[in-house]
Symmetry: C2
Subunit: 108 residues, 2 copies
DNA sequence: TTGACATGATACCTTTGGGTATCACACAAA
DNA sequence: TTTGTGTGATACCCAAAGGTATCATGTCAA
């Protein structure tokens, strides 16, 4: 069940793909632009982009003869949600966030 | 850089390993006990446990001739931290948490 | 139309990964 | 000590994954 979770984690398991996501989160890019950041062929990058797209982590749309790849943050939800099951185990993150919010309220 | 992040995501990429983590988060177990939950040999489970341990996701200690495996939540931090870089993209989770905390404060 | 460029797709190679089978070892109990 | 059980480790098998090379397609510009 939830093939989405599997696809998501599998996509995130490769360092190149995580880096691609990081790049696309800052700026939309064509395949050539993405490939320019790595020491591998455009075909290899294309494969990674395909994996990311099928996992719902990026979206693409044609623009003339170019193909724009953009980050799809909601694709990370399955991973975030799965990790959320363990929230009770590391209260520090929660605590830090709570502090930040309380601080924010004090400011307001 | 940060081999921890790579080890963590690689360990989480396998559904069996995620399930093992889920089991161990509820109860410490010997290898035999873990293996009892899966349709594979004890040796295969042992391999998964080794991957999880090297990623810092579980800890083990001998107890007689048994070996107890326990969940190490802090091992998930690299993944959580990496995902945290994208926090700005899906404010809903943050918002929900903020609401929960505010509710908590109202109660207090 | 023709040429140049950005991309898609496929075949192929090599390494990694998940799995089994098997043997060796340590410890508890009789 | 002997026996049985829980575990570690290795060799081996097969499928999947990451990569390159190569060719086909589509679009912009002259």
């Amino acid at each position: 069940m939830t093939a989405l979770t599997q696809d998501c984690f599998r996509a995130l398991a490769d360092p190149t793909r995580r880096e691609i996501l990081s790049l696309l989160s800052r700026q939309d890019m064509t395949i050539a632009q993405v490939a320019g950041h790595f020491d591998m062929t455009r075909a290899a990058v294309k494969k990674h982009l395909t994996v990311l797209e099928q996992a719902g982590l990026i979206q693409t749309h044609a623009e003339g003869r170019e193909r724009i790849n953009s980050f799809a943050p909601q694709g990370l939800r399955p991973a975030v949600d799965w990790l959320g099951h363990f929230d009770a185990f590391w209260d520090d993150r929660l605590t830090a966030l709570k502090s930040a919010i309380e601080q924010d309220q004090t400011d307001a």
